[in-house]
């Protein structure tokens, strides 16, 4: 435990430089700025802002990116509370009681409880990472190729089970992503695969055109298809912001419960903010003395889920940073950014570049602090932003997306790729395939192939190696268990119910 604190001290030394604090602040601001826009969730927000972080050194860019993520998430909560318009699934829960509180004139209390609850959860989440990261990374060092392969399989499977919509199509998207990940020169044989004579594809499909096209641009088009929605927000003033003492008394227990639940659910592959906030809401409702208050402005219904989703947002970094396994699409975006920075996330980062790992952990705490600082006093500003009509916003958002893509590689081919992915993503949405799981597969494709190859070389072609090694066998056993659970009808029903409550 003492180790954790010395490590954190190293991290704070690295992340606490004026420059890095500045980037954390800018990241949170930009994330909030885009995140408060209704209908734009964290995935498109991060995709759109990703290019801004490329010019920075690795630590600063990760710090800024993490800031963008927290900002986007918190911005979504603000929108949910004030205009009842969730940008993404995890904010749906906040809408239910947060908006009702706002209508009763308690918008300030809801916003403050969300911010302070998130901050508390963020602090705990940071400690969680510091405590559990190193042992898990140590454990991961015993992993061999077969174990990694099985781990990735389990991770992808869990992500699929937790994904919204059809499980079959989610599996399909992951597989398609794996296939897309193989485009380019095969590292082993040097043969070009699926490049169709386009030299830009020799290094593989570029991450940025893909995510900006499939998430950013598709989001713009989808929003344009809908009628201009009524986005009148509930007025709030700064002096109304502080929750009353009784609000505090009602909120602190849900915050602690939500934090605990979120921290645990965040670590699970496939888990993350969405699952955590749904789970916390369900739990609060179950243990409440009077469950009928929920949906009518119960402060527990804001405090618990907000804490839970923030805790999960923190701890979902654990599998990525220690095992190299992105547990949800947002972590896949983070992983993509790390790869672009020349890092391969995994246990090696912690041992070979401790200042990077611990700096990032420390920056998470700093980022959470920034959120409180910029959100409580500046909430009025964000609300103003909501009143800017979409017809003025989308050309600007589109412009930033294309400049981002073009700035990466001054080449119209990149733009063509972005367009192709935008159309592809749009078609996918139309036929009921949520494209998000694809980026998980995309990033893991080459890694899985390499681990599969090494495993089979090790066993001289005998696939039994995957069940002969205890770690791999356990992981595959979990896969089978998961499949069984998923096809069992009762659990499917409750999963559908959980999502039905949100959509």
């Amino acid at each position: 435990m003492m180790d954790a604190f010395t490590n954190l001290a190293t991290g704070f030394a690295a992340a606490g430089s004026l420059q890095n604090i500045g980037f954390a602040l800018i990241g949170c601001m930009l994330g909030t700025l885009i995140g408060v826009l209704p209908g734009i969730g964290p995935i498109p927000t991060i995709a759109m802002l990703l290019p801004l972080t490329f010019g920075l050194d690795p630590l600063s860019s990760l710090i800024m990116l993490a800031g963008i993520y927290y900002g986007a998430q918190y911005g979504g909560s603000t929108t949910s509370i004030l205009v009842n318009m969730p940008g993404e699934a995890s904010s749906v829960v906040t809408c239910m009681d947060g908006y009702q509180m706002a209508r009763q004139g308690r918008a300030g209390a809801a916003l403050a409880v969300a911010a302070l609850g998130s901050f508390f959860a963020g602090c705990v989440g940071t400690v969680f990472i510091a405590a559990f990261g190193p042992p898990l990374a140590g454990f991961a060092q015993q992993f061999n190729s077969p174990d990694y392969f099985s781990l990735m399989a389990l991770g992808l499977l869990m992500a699929v089970v937790m994904a919204q919509g059809s499980i079959v199509n989610a599996i399909g998207m992951v597989l398609a992503g794996l296939l897309f990940g193989l485009v380019g020169t095969d590292a082993n044989s040097g043969v070009a695969r699926y490049t169709f004579g386009v030299s830009e594809l020799w290094d593989g499909v570029d991450f940025l055109p893909m995510v900006i096209g499939m998430f950013g641009i598709v989001e713009i088009i989808r929003n344009l298809e809908e009628k201009e929605l009524d986005r009148t927000s509930i007025k709030t003033r700064f002096r109304d912001l502080w929750p009353s003492w009784s609000d505090f008394k009602e909120a602190w227990k849900p915050v602690i419960r939500g934090t605990g639940l979120g921290s645990i659910l965040g670590i699970l592959p496939g888990g993350g903010a969405v699952l955590a906030s749904f789970a916390s809401y369900t739990m609060e409702k179950k243990i409440a003395d009077d469950p009928s208050r929920f949906g009518k402005g119960a402060i527990e219904g804001v405090a618990g889920p907000e804490a839970a989703n923030n805790a999960a947002a923190q701890t979902s970094f654990i599998p990525l940073l220690t095992l190299g396994l992105p547990s949800n699409p947002i972590m896949a975006l983070m992983m993509g950014a790390m790869v672009i920075q020349g890092m391969q996330p995994g246990s090696a980062v912690m041992t070979s570049r401790p200042e990077l790992f611990w700096g990032m952990v420390a920056s998470m705490w700093i980022g959470n602090l920034m959120l409180v600082i910029i959100n409580l006093p500046m909430v009025g500003l964000w609300v103003k932003l909501l009143s800017v009509p979409y017809r003025l916003l989308y050309p600007a958002i589109l412009l930033f997306c294309v400049i981002g893509v073009y700035g990466l590689n001054s080449n119209w081919v990149m733009m063509a790729m972005t367009t192709v992915f935008a159309i592809f993503g749009y078609v996918l949405v139309r036929v009921g395939c949520e494209p998000a799981p694809m980026i998980l597969g995309f990033l893991l494709g080459p890694i899985m192939e390499e681990n599969l190859r090494r495993s089979l070389v090790l066993s001289r072609g005998d696939p039994m190696i995957f069940i002969q090694r205890p770690i791999s066998a356990t992981l595959l056993g979990l896969c089978v268990l998961l499949i069984l659970i998923t096809v069992l009808p009762s659990i499917r029903k409750s999963r559908d119910a959980a999502f039905a409550g949100g959509s």
């Binding site: 801004l52 010019g55 059809s166 079959v168 199509n169 599996i171 399909g172 597989l175 398609a176 794996l178 296939l179 193989l182 095969d186 082993n188 044989s189 043969v191 695969r193 699926y194 169709f196 641009i217 713009i220 088009i221 344009l224 298809e225 017809r391 003025l392 989308y394 050309p395 600007a396 589109l398 412009l399 930033f400 294309v402 400049i403 073009y406 700035g407 001054s410 119209w412 990149m414 733009m415 063509a416 972005t418 367009t419 935008a422 159309i423 749009y426 078609v427 996918l428 139309r430 036929v431 009921g432 395939c433 192939e449 599969l452 190859r453 089979l456 070389v457 072609g461 005998d462 696939p463």
Partner: protein, 149 residues
């Protein structure tokens, strides 16, 4: 007569089967190798077959379970947004960011039926100036601000 009960599943089937076929057809020249010595075609072939399986499963679902219809696409936003991106991609090298940004704004504005063109002129002007200041002079992105520069 067989009836499509779930059009969305049929659509998904078309996409997955299409992807799988692309994977198989364009991957046919890649050496498959053996399990002990995987060739570059090994993993792609397996993945393509799995994707094909998902596609066929979707075909089966399309005719058995009742599902959602495919919403008609709105051509206007897609066309104009994609056109705006492509035109920007070609133009920025020749006429610089300022004019390309304005051009993009006008094309993007066409995505809506009820565009107020007067307002769009101001928006284009603002975005052109703002993006040049921020990206070219502020962040030092490698793109020309004006033509020939």
């Amino acid at each position: 007569m067989v009836r499509v009960k779930s059009p969305q599943n049929l659509g998904a089937a078309v996409i997955f089967i299409g992807l799988a076929l692309i994977g198989l057809i364009f991957g046919r020249d890649l050496a498959f190798g053996s399990t002990a010595k995987m060739g570059p075609g090994f993993f792609p072939t397996i993945l393509s077959l799995l994707v094909l399986g998902i596609g066929l499963l979707n075909v089966a679902m399309a005719f058995t379970i009742t599902g959602e219809p495919i919403e008609k696409p709105h051509w206007r936003p897609i066309t104009f947004i994609c056109a705006a991106m492509m035109v920007f991609g070609f133009a920025v090298h020749y006429i610089g960011l300022a004019f390309s940004a304005a051009l993009l704004t006008f094309l993007a504005a066409g995505a809506r039926k009820d565009t107020r063109w007067g307002e769009t002129v101001f928006l284009a002007l603002f975005l052109a100036i703002f993006s040049v200041l921020l990206f070219v002079y502020g962040l030092g992105q490698s793109m020309p601000a004006w033509w020939g520069a």
